[in-house]
Amino acid sequence: MSLAADTPTRRPWLSGSARVKLFAYLLVAPVILLILGLVAYPFLFAIWVSFTDMVVGSVGNFVGFKNFEYLAKTATFWSAIWNTITIVLVSDVLKLVIGLGLALLVHQNLPGRGIFRSFLMLPWAMPAFVAFLTWRVLYQPIGGGINLILTQLGITDQIIDFLGQRSTAMGSVIVASVWRGFPFWFVSILAALQSVPKELYEAAIVDGANAWQRFWNVTIPSLMPVIIVTTLLSSIWTANGFEHVWLLTAGGPSDATMVFPVLAYYGMQTQRIGEAAAVSVYMLPVLAILVIFATSLMMRREE
């Protein structure tokens, strides 16, 4: 609607269109001001702090790239890089495969599909901290359900300390975060499946395409936009996730599951804020690419 069309005449002190414009700005102002103050300003402040030697209780002096250079010399930092990349890549692939597979299964005309859908979304309805604390208990050598199942089924007779040894800790963290994260993919893909026009399939059948060809040439291309946005969102969230690692392993054993957000939190606890901020800021370039990409895709789809 054009503003000129909107011309009530009750208040002559401002022209109709100016009045409407003022109203529009007033409505949007609280959110914009809060976002500027609570997101934009802290964001820029974090970048500044990462270039200072700030500790708790001091203002900090500009030290250039010292924090970044120092971090790059620590082994923990490199563990965090590799672990963050591993968690994001592996869990995205697993969530995609599981989410897509289950969405295709539920999308069939099966009796009882509604019940399956409800159950499959449960992990997403659980609070993340509850989910990861529960997995922490499940993985325990003593009192944990997974060791019980594995030994009872005869898969192994060894009790495995999943979270306590380097060889299994990362895999265990990934399994738990896939469990909690796949429903988001499942629901997104299921909704997208339901919006694929039936005519496309009918046309494909007329052209003699078999089920497999229809899947690759109709289903997958139709899902691509949703899969791309979901991948971007999920990567941003997973790379910056704190709970899954913190509640399961706190980054251990000996940095085997250390990731950026946990490292930044430890930095914060040592009171060396400049270094802690540098940890977060290191993630920024990659994060910025993902965010800008996601933003433009989401904006385009809104238009």
Binding site: M1, Q108, L133, T230, P261, M298
Partner: protein
């Protein structure tokens, strides 16, 4: 769509091989879905039975079914009142954030959907950027800012900080819903004497009720679940939220699995109720807003 059932539908009906393929497809589908549901439910099941087992049973006699059912863990968790206080704090923070966020986000979303003005595009982008800016980048500067505002270690501070993730998400989702409300209805209302604000309150918001419900649930859930900000911003026990109270249970020397799982069960209950009441809205909200298809 091109799934097992459909594959069989394409084969001429009535042929025996088509029938066999159809039935096999069904069996495989149900088997896979059944397995998935089992894997989804097992952790939840384990959480519940661990909360109902005696401590000595948890540690010494691992079993799929408790030998003795007990509420000991719940009693132990709730005895000193700390956890109840944490639940109360969580409820206060999450509901306040939800109310503030739904109100001012719906104003902002309405403004950006219905009006055209100079900075609309910039605002839209800002909101989306804010939505995607992770808490792991903001917790350090926010803790300094909150300390400067003398809001560190307080529920008010937490509420303010939680708006950083709830406002962008709510505004983004509500824009999608408001686009679906025909502007003719508002114009009709304004001809009948409503002001523009009146039209928003009386026409647009009621028509977007499912959207508002979805946004309220997402906001409440987000605030109820938040751990990192709470961990950094609060120091005293009196302002701990539920995730924080449980977090401190596992950092103690003795690992109290029973009470921990009792706390997990209690913390899940409000969300599970919301989930079953409002599942429809949540699915719609997800598919129409966050990842619009």
């Amino acid at each position: 769509m091109a799934t097992l059932a459909e594959a069989s539908a394409a084969v001429p009906a009535g042929s025996a091989s088509a029938r066999r393929r159809y039935i096999t497809g069904r069996i495989i589908s149900y088997a896979l879905l059944g397995l998935a549901v089992l894997l989804v439910l097992f952790p939840i099941y384990w959480m519940i039975i661990t909360s109902l087992k005696l401590p000595r049973e948890i540690l010494r006699v691992p079993s799929l079914w408790p030998k003795v059912f007990t509420l000991d863990n719940f009693n132990k968790l709730l005895a000193d009142g700390d956890f109840l206080l944490a639940i109360r704090n969580s409820a206060i923070v999450a509901s306040t954030v939800t109310v503030i966020s739904v109100i001012i986000s719906s104003f902002a979303a309405y403004s950006m959907v219905r009006f055209r003005y100079r900075f609309r595009g910039v605002f839209g982008r800002l909101i989306l950027f804010a939505y995607l800016t992770p808490g792991s980048l903001l917790f350090i500067p926010l803790s300094i800012v909150m300390a400067q505002l003398k809001l560190g270690n307080s529920l008010q501070g937490l509420i303010l900080v939680y708006l950083t993730f709830s406002l962008p998400l709510s505004t983004w989702l509500l824009q999608g819903y408001f686009r679906g409300v025909p502007r003719e209805l508002e114009e009709q209302g304004m001809i009948d004497g409503l002001t523009r604000f009146g039209a928003l309150i009386r026409i647009t918001l009621p028509l977007s009720a499912p959207g508002l419900a979805a946004v309220a649930i997402f906001t409440f859930t987000g605030a109820w679940n938040e751990l990192l900000f709470a961990l950094v911003l609060t120091t005293s026990e009196s302002v701990r939220t539920a995730p924080l109270a449980l977090n401190y249970l596992i950092t103690s020397d003795v690992l109290p699995w029973g009470p921990l799982m009792a706390g997990a069960v209690i913390s899940s209950v409000p969300l599970m109720i919301l989930y079953f009441v409002a599942q429809r809205f949540m699915v719609a909200g997800m598919s129409e807003g966050a990842v619009k298809g």
